[in-house]
Subunit: 210 residues, 2 copies
Amino acid sequence: MQKPTSVKTWPEIEFWFEFASNYSYLSVMRIEELASLYQVKIKWCPFLLGPIFKSLGWNTSPFVLQKNKGDYVWQDMARQAKKYGLAWTQPTQFPRPSLLPMRVAAAYNDAPWIADFCRSVMQINFVQDRDIDSATVVQQVLTDLALDANLILRDMESDENKIKLRQQTELAITKKIFGAPSFIVEGQLFWGDDRLEDALHFARTVYERN
Amino acid sequence: MQKPTSVKTWPEIEFWFEFASNYSYLSVMRIEELASLYQVKIKWCPFLLGPIFKSLGWNTSPFVLQKNKGDYVWQDMARQAKKYGLAWTQPTQFPRPSLLPMRVAAAYNDAPWIADFCRSVMQINFVQDRDIDSATVVQQVLTDLALDANLILRDMESDENKIKLRQQTELAITKKIFGAPSFIVEGQLFWGDDRLEDALHFARTVYERN
């Protein structure tokens, strides 16, 4: 007799992302529906790109430092967003500071509302073209999710939560992550929104094999 | 009465590539079959990456300069090659000098044997893991294509042919190309083997619209 499939747990994908990263926007908007299709569980892993860029000797995004690549990225983003049916506005500020919403995401990365929270923050940055690193904005996002925004925001001031995001970033470096979005499945790294489907397919395939 | 379709010319994709570039290997191996599927004509545009990297202050490939990204690229290449059913060997020398075969490709970029020549050179670099920048190797490739190898190689010593590759590289810079492979369709730039299908789809779509 076969075990009922509901007893099985789903395989897991680590999803490493940054609210300041435009290609992370595509993955944040796409991952939940796709992961459900592949029957893969998402582990939300927010981390800061800044320290990783700094370790490479860069003081900002390579899309700012390399002019031709930067110009290209906005053409590519418009085409990719259209291909995936996603709204898109080229941000007037890039990369945007993202510390406060990143701290919330790190502190509540396994909350049932994490996907909704991340999509809302990303849409403010890359559709509404508005600042995301402000208490007012984050409070509104949390309130719209029917959460106790004041409680959560007060909680962000604790050392524990500040350290949590820093630790996530250090963990990303340990895992040899060099850009966002990145995906890790069974210790294998996949980089870029273009590899999301491959990473999910790999998670499902390895799981079926075992 | 409809015009017979044979009267129509096919839309064109400019394919900018480098024999030293591993992601160009994927596109060189894939493009002819795909372009035929989309009914798009390929304009083969070899160019040197070295001067473009130099203009960014780099003395070699970013895959060498950024260690984590470099380590990742070889994992990604193995997976991508497998996905596309292509043979793959991680080269023991990277990036390999490519000047002589690049000159041949630039001089004969509209020859009927250009696709075969490019695939052979790429396979020597990325499957056989052998040097490509030698008269012996290029001579063998040309001979295998039933061409007069001695005549072609002698021709590569002319100033005209040396200048041709240099001009191609300058043209690439004018077109704001910053990496390889790149594709240009109707003035729009697409970067990376991952965008090959998108570029071909765009060529076909714009053509149908007109």
